[in-house]
């Protein structure tokens, strides 16, 4: 019984982390209809920058801030300078974002080397909490808490504020939103930055759990893409549920079929997409 609780909490904490990364991707794909594969870089670089900041300042919070702000700036810069010019050219977007992904990933490799790095959780959360007869890391519990707060915060922002209304309008029908005096380019820039910020913060938050390693950008990108497709592009609710689902599958997969973790995710996804090609919450074609 306790084992299930522990596993469940593990899955939940991992899922929440994935959710934070997927938010940006689902909004970018669903709203801007831009394929931005660089999203994985935001996570990885966020983690590395957080690591450096923490080593220098000793403050985990500072690490989170730097990671978030730096990635927000990066996201904004790439959107403004690059992606905006190719809004109708899908091959260009793929080539561009993948090129950036390679470039940034390799630079990271050059700077931080090939060994996996982890971040030490803040002093306050370095301990463990007893669950049944086992101990469960407090950090993971805190992560779940933080993630839920963010999820609720985003939900309130999107569903209950005027700003959120504008974003949802822009997601549903950009042309109509523009006609309704919504400043669509500003909304797009804002959404893009928010997504990058969350991914960067997630990179640091994931430091104690997943860590940073060469190829980490690809791995997280793949998972985030699966989540976004499963949950439906542009759907935050879908991203949340999808992330939890993947978190569960991945955690269980890792413990039961260690070599097959990716396969364990793709097989169900293939099945779901065959039956429902637009994802669980996506709109029908």
């Amino acid at each position: 019984m306790t084992v299930w609780a522990i596993q469940g909490l593990n899955a939940l904490s991992y899922g929440i982390l994935l959710y934070l990364v997927s938010v940006g991707l689902t909004l970018t794909l669903g709203l801007l209809r831009i394929i931005n594969l660089t999203h994985g870089s935001y996570y990885l670089l966020g983690g590395y920058l957080g690591l450096v900041t923490i080593e220098v300042t000793g403050s985990f919070l500072a690490g989170l801030c730097v990671a978030g702000v730096a990635m927000m700036a990066l996201g904004l810069a790439t959107e403004r300078l690059l992606f905006r010019r190719y809004s109708d050219n899908e091959p260009a977007q793929v080539l561009l974002s993948l090129g950036l992904l390679f470039l940034l990933g390799d630079i990271a490799l050059g700077i931080w080397g090939g060994t996996a790095r982890t971040i030490r959780p803040p002093e306050l959360l370095a301990g463990a909490v007893p669950i049944g007869s086992q101990q469960f890391p407090s950090y993971r519990l805190a992560l779940i808490g933080v993630g839920l707060l963010v999820a609720i915060g985003l939900w309130i922002l999107l569903e209950r504020t005027r700003l959120g209304l504008m974003v949802r309008a822009a997601v549903d029908d950009p042309e109509l939103a523009q006609a309704m005096r919504v400043n669509v380019p500003l909304v797009m820039a804002g959404v893009f930055s928010l997504g990058a910020l969350l991914a960067g913060v997630a990179g640091t938050l994931g430091g104690p759990i997943v860590g940073m390693y060469p190829g980490g950008d690809f791995d997280i990108l793949l998972l985030a893409t699966v989540i976004v497709i499963l949950g439906g592009m542009g759907s935050l609710r879908g991203a949340f549920l999808g992330a939890l689902l993947i978190g569960i599958i991945d955690t269980i997969g890792r413990s039961s079929f260690p070599e097959l973790s990716l396969f364990a995710i793709f097989a169900p996804m293939a099945a779901i997409l065959v039956l429902r090609p637009q994802g669980l919450f996506g709109r029908a074609f």
Binding site: L29, I35, L82, Y86, N89, E90, P91, A92, V94, L95, L96, L98, G99, L100, L101, F102, L103, L104, G105, D106, I107, L109, G110, L222, T225, V226, I229, M233, E259, L260, L262, F263, F266, A267, M269, A270, L273, V274, P277, Q278, G279, G282, F285
Partner: protein, 335 residues
Amino acid sequence: MLLVRWVFLLLLALLVVFGPTILPPYYVNLATRVLIFALFAMSLDLLLGYTGLWSFGHAAFFGFAAYGVGLFTLRVQNNVILAVLTSLTATLLLAALFGLLSLRARGVYFMMLTLALAQVVWGVAFKWRSFTGGDDGLPAIPRPDLSPLPLKAANSVDFYIFTAVIFIIAVSILFLITRSPFGASLEGIREHETRMIVLGYNVWLHRYLAHLFAALFAGVAGVLFAYHNGIVSPIDLSVVRSAEALLMVVLGGAGTLFGPVFGALVVELLKHFVSIYTERWLAILGLIYVITVLVAPNGIYEAIQRLFRFRVAPSSNLAPSDHRMRRWILLLRRR
């Protein structure tokens, strides 16, 4: 004029087949690799550039065929004809199945579905150690016995010639397909699917057939790869391979058929040469992708074409030598 064109093409073919044979063995092997991946990329272009279907799982067919000849040669019989036939047939069956599943989706969902299906194949290759060798793959695949052809496959030059001839045959067939009414239909479907439906085209069937052809040619490339490389491992089925092919297509120019050849050339040459001088070859590759988008967003091939068109001013003040140059360029353009 027509005769000149055929002579030119023949010379080009001979150049491709025999040109690189004068190079040292390392470069001959590199040239072989370039042709194999060029074929793989071109097969993807049929799907992506001509039909507008973004497949992130095309390596499944490439790798599946590679595993096919490997397994047949190592486990059943070292007979190249049987191995290739069995492998390609199996690959076509796989494509037939996958096409039924993946073509239910569109756009990004199609991308993910093709990726997911490819990952399933990868998972099998990875997990089924006893059959496929797991993540060690299939080592030591012997070169095929090419008799009655006067070629010894173990020899790099001979193998290159063999590959080049197959390449040219495959390219010719692909060329014919893209220039045929079927190819024109695919373009129409890519440009405006609804209009095509209303004009009476069975869009699904066209896509399905394109999918089968693309898989077949990817399979041919896979077969050549297995024999050339000697080793097949799960990475040859993976998303990394698929992404590589995708990048070659986009880099060279989607929908041009010959563009991907340039793309394959650039990627393979970069991989081999840049890595000699610096470890950061991936960063440089990434940088090249970014620069290409900024400078030539429709791919290298289109940029080259534009360059030639730019040089050839369609006016009467062309010097006689320019006329000859113009004929060459017109032949090259093949539009």
